[in-house]
Symmetry: C2
Subunit: 345 residues, 2 copies
Amino acid sequence: MRSESGPKRPVTLDDVARAAGVSQPTASRVLNGSARKVAESYRERVLEAARALGYTPNLPAQAMARGTSRTIALVTSLISDPYFGALAAEILKQAEAVGLHVSIAVTERRADRELDLVRELRGQQPRAIILAGSGSVDPPSEQPLVDELRRYEETGGRVVLISRSDLPFDTVDFDNHEGARQLARELAGIGYRRCLVLGSDTPLLSMRRRVEGFVHGLADAGVAGARVRHPQFSWVGARDVVLGLSNDELRDLQLVFAVTDDMALGALAGLRERGLRIPEDIGVAGFDDITTLRDVVPALTTVHVALDAVAEEAVYRATTPDPEPTRRTVPAYPVVRASTPRLLS
Amino acid sequence: MRSESGPKRPVTLDDVARAAGVSQPTASRVLNGSARKVAESYRERVLEAARALGYTPNLPAQAMARGTSRTIALVTSLISDPYFGALAAEILKQAEAVGLHVSIAVTERRADRELDLVRELRGQQPRAIILAGSGSVDPPSEQPLVDELRRYEETGGRVVLISRSDLPFDTVDFDNHEGARQLARELAGIGYRRCLVLGSDTPLLSMRRRVEGFVHGLADAGVAGARVRHPQFSWVGARDVVLGLSNDELRDLQLVFAVTDDMALGALAGLRERGLRIPEDIGVAGFDDITTLRDVVPALTTVHVALDAVAEEAVYRATTPDPEPTRRTVPAYPVVRASTPRLLS
DNA sequence: TTGTACGCGTTATCAC
DNA sequence: GTGATAACGCGTACAA
């Protein structure tokens, strides 16, 4: 049976001060850091009283009094996605390391939700808002979002963007173009020529960069004219494209490169349904190097992104004032694995 | 170049009221629901002013004035883990559906961190605290945590536990015992006899239940004496156990069951390193049915858990007062896939 | 229906 | 070094 005494009032600073026989400001100075000094005897009594009463500062009240909170808001597309999950995890870790709380909201890839969420989150008075993912190739349509973020920034908040190069705020991203380009060069170097590139039907800048980078990389190596498709941005979308290829097209291919690991695996599933063996009959490569895929066989060739570095940089920017929008690009580099063995020519 | 006008003050209800030519309480009644009615003309002017100024309610201030916030705090072990990631995602979705914000903190499986986090989160004045994962088999050691949670509860907060049956609060879990038991019966039914069970070296009640359930299931089917090991609770731990088996032990086995999919995959990797083919030489089964593993080959036999139902129930409990601690058990059921084909006896 | 006055828990400014 | 007192933005009795 639970105690029936009805909702008690939480223990406040006042309670602690009274119990310790000091004034409330003094208790405040002891418990929540202040420049001012407090006599040792008082200090001990306050700490003792706080411990005995189980005092915890009321963060909303602190935030209001101080005018700034220790919370950062993270807006992400889809946390169940292993890629965003990993990114969110890294951000949580970094934030915690500097004593910040994190409030997470998901857009589920809907641009309008994004705007609403930012507006709502602004109400939480977070110290910073981090926007991860999404990022349209169509900047003008983002104007309302930019306005909203600007307003937030004007009141002292920090805005940090991850992996979206379209908005005029501090941005951390990785080198989508260069990563894909180097991957293409390496693969061309071990014999791959006839490639199918799977982009995305969504207007995501980062995905477009990956497609462009890959095509450039092939061109660097003297391979021209990769086929490019833009299926639905998902495992299923990639699989469906493969399932829709004619037998001739399929037979002709040596490699499928998809702009995410998730899609690469969809393609892989589709290729298997079509009766092809991976990697004996055809190679597959992705992008992201998602940890949770380490058990896929054959091990997937992909482009690795240092998410920990991305998160660290993002949290750093989120806590560091910065008069001008800055862009930091974290390198991405290819990792060739069993899904793309060297081809004998 | 960014505007240099220095941090402006955010737009407050007062600003809106002034702009609309009404009193602050009237603006409050219009913008943030109140029982009281406001004349239509006033209503419109307030709404218009709010829109024009870009007003967003200051949530911490609201929380303080109302004495309750619209935030729930989620404490989880490890969000990068696909299992917890999926659970967190479902909770975010459910919370959003009822208009609640979510603040996430990770314990990284350290019991002391858990206590600290709860204390800290309490300061955020969330409407509820949801604890997911962990859950020691050693309840006495949790007393400080229980005390802290009780204190929180006494001030009107709700406490909900997911998948840990050791504490006297509202609990949502899934039937670890029964799920594993039925899996064992099904596998025994298609010929599996000589099994290695991989538990966990951590004192987690849910994992212990899975081990017990599996052994019971085997017993139900007349199979006695499964070997049980308790490796480190991770992919690597499971793999290492397999790598450490003698050739004789290995040859004798027909199945490895691990208490999580993650560990099952570790075991699978280890088995392959030992030169065994899966499933031709030996079967492998896990628990959790993690979505992101759909591309593992062979498809992993496992126990499915309806995380969406778990999340829904948890958020429901988090928002519904309840005089007595209640337990709700969500079913878990085996899903037999290619990693455990029928054995010819 | 509307406005005045006060309180929520905390920090900051200022005398002492 | 310490303690009154005034903010912070909002909700809500209460009076008008």
